[in-house]
Symmetry: none
Subunit: 412 residues, 2 copies
């Protein structure tokens, strides 16, 4: 099966946004063995979009569209496809109810053009949108498969993964099971990881191992094929064992785990409470933990003490100590961690201080970060020397704190 | 002039990398008034690449290629173009010397395939590569302009900016200036905004008005063409005036402004200090403000009080009041704002409480948020009813707080 991805939207042609959808869809299709020969971007212009569809039909069996399912007059993907293949649009009652519900729940006013989002290609399989209003569609017609997806990545990605991929599988009449597991690493670069596990990368063909750098560190995706999902899983397990042995200290989780979800999970599992005193991250660490429902049993709270004055006034840090060592120091991070822990009566206290950048802070170069973890009667500190932008440094400071916390919690 | 961008590389079709080059090239062409009608991605396959070239020649005057100029056998962009338009490749002595110099300087061994990088299309204008080895090319032939650029963004971007854009300008023999301004909205949906300014959208042709939904709300891009940039700007100004009149309460900024950058800017401009007490957002609000260098003159700090107990213990909220109204209430948000303001001795205090979800909290449905702003002796509260995921609700709660803060600061 040959596929072509057609992203629709003038904002792409104007260079206002990057076509990340094509990358996501391509990588997932590659994993199930569907070849993408072309990616195309067309604007919000029906004639030019139809021309792209006509060309794609000549060179691909599967056409995957993203974008242009919104409520405005510019959104015309399904209208253009409907006209091109001669199939009517009809109101999907489920989708309409879900849109009406949304407006009722949020107390916002529903305008006539929102109804348009519930129009679907007649005879298509509806791909429910759990993160937005516009439903997706999959349709087999004229010896082609047409899959229509919404443009916003947070709506498109789960829909494609959970609904469109199984649809393509069924359409291919495939019985072979494909199982894939993502192993997640932190504290190690992509090149270093590849170097350390080169033998494994070279020798493996089932499962295949594909490295990928992401915001949350580096990941390896292991993909195995077998007659059943269970058999495929048994092919993956020994490779995970090898990875644990060779680079286990850098593995923080699998699949949907993030650094913060893993830390939140371990805190709840071990029944430990936590609080944090943050300077350069200014609440980012506690905010990442609070992404996870149920965290209130562990996360009691925290303080942002952005200025030296507030470090002294709010958390009782010793002015003489700060004068001697500076606020960007192991001593300050440790004192923040110990003080906030006492203050919130928690098992664990976190202290974060540093020079986020772009300028040096208190005599320390931008990117210098000290992390303190106070737990079980002792306080340990860790230093980072980062070289990114201000906000990449702040995010990596919070992520490294989660990573050190996870390593500590594992053995707690 | 109509343009098409053709990115070449199988790694794009496999979803291993994102096509950021297409965005960069598109945005720069848009600024000089060249319309990009399509973006295409083809793999390292000569037949399929040539097919893409043939199609692009039918629908565009300017073909911009990125990628496939490297030393390996897979790199075949210039070979394919040369064969397709019937022009020979010849060794460019300057490019060859520069490659030889590079290897001498770095002490690495030059292999035969590196010589291949110095082959250029006969008669083309060479675009020197100051950040890598492969030279770019620009060629006018067969009523088309072909521009060939290297794939790595750090080589491609300065080459395109400094050498290719002037080449296109000269080719166009053009003096017309294009100016574009982005107007940024919050607190209003894309459909509702389009509905409210439908007349303007329909009647405008210079400047054109293009709506776009983004993470930070909705934006309108106004693009005007005129003989000079100054004249183009005078065409945009009255339209901004019309927007201010019709939907001004939802406008928070222009161009690179974000909600947090605008709030940070206004706080510094007005010389006002701020602190925040956060429950559902757990530090996200202060963390967003801290994204901006220099904010420590305004942001003193904050507290995350995640549990009811800590709201009472850390900020002295009245247990009887919380019992009567609940923690998800106007009263709680107001008390948090007033208390943290006193505690940090700031001009402004922010209180944020709510049910992030997925479950109801303290009897209130998920998505119910109360925001308190304590300023100049009085405390105002605002209610939100959101319907997103837990973290979209938390992010929107923080963004709405920034939006209300901006409105308050404007008149302060």
């Amino acid at each position: 099966m040959k596929a072509e991805i057609i992203a629709v939207g003038s904002e792409l042609l104007l260079g206002q946004i990057t076509n990340t959808n094509a990358r996501f869809i391509s990588s997932r299709l590659a994993e199930i063995g569907v070849d993408v020969y072309y990616q195309t971007v067309a604007g919000d212009n029906p004639a030019r979009l139809e021309e792209a569809i006509r060309i794609a039909e000549e060179r691909a069996d599967l056409l995957v569209f993203s974008g242009g399912l919104g409520p405005t007059k510019d959104d015309l993907t399904k209208e253009t496809i409907a006209r091109h293949i001669g199939i009517a649009l009809e109101m999907d009652e489920d989708a309409l109810h879900s849109i009406e519900d949304y407006f009722e729940r949020t107390g916002r006013e529903m305008t006539a053009n929102n109804r348009k989002q519930a129009l679907v290609l007649k005879g298509s399989t509806i791909l429910a949108n759990h993160h937005g209003m516009a439903p997706g569609m999959a349709l087999a017609a004229n010896d082609h498969i047409y899959i229509l997806l919404p443009g916003p990545p947070h709506e498109m990605e789960p829909m494609f993964e959970k609904l469109a991929i199984p649809y393509v599988h069924r359409a291919l009449g495939r019985k072979e099971a494909i199982v894939s597991t993502v192993v997640k690493f932190y504290g190690i670069g992509e090149a270093e990881l590849a170097f350390k596990v080169q033998d494994l990368l070279d020798s493996q063909s089932n499962p295949t191992i594909a490295p990928l750098a992401s915001r949350d560190g580096v990941t390896l995706r292991l993909t195995a094929k077998a007659d059943t999902p269970e058999l495929a899983r048994t092919l993956i397990l020994p490779v995970i064992g090898d990875l644990q042995e060779q680079v286990g200290e850098f593995i923080y989780g699998f699949d949907d785990d993030t650094l913060s979800s893993k830390a939140a999970e371990l805190l709840q599992e071990k029944g430990l409470s936590i609080s944090a005193a943050e300077s350069l991250t200014a609440g980012l660490f506690t905010s990442l933990l609070a992404e996870h429902a149920g965290i209130s049993v562990a996360l009691k709270g925290g303080m942002t003490v952005y200025t030296e004055e507030e470090k002294i006034r709010q958390l009782g840090l010793d002015p003489a100590m700060l004068k001697r060592h500076g606020v960007v120091s192991s001593e300050c991070a440790g004192a923040l961690a110990a003080s906030v822990r006492k203050r919130f009566l928690t098992d664990i206290g976190i202290g974060l201080t540093g020079a986020a950048g772009p300028d040096p802070h208190d005599g320390q170069p931008a990117g210098t970060v000290w992390i303190g973890i106070s737990f079980a009667g002792s306080t340990e500190t860790y230093q980072l020397k980062l070289s990114g932008s201000r906000n990449s440094n702040r995010m990596r400071a919070a992520n490294f704190t989660l990573y050190y916390l996870i390593r500590k919690l594992r053995t707690a």
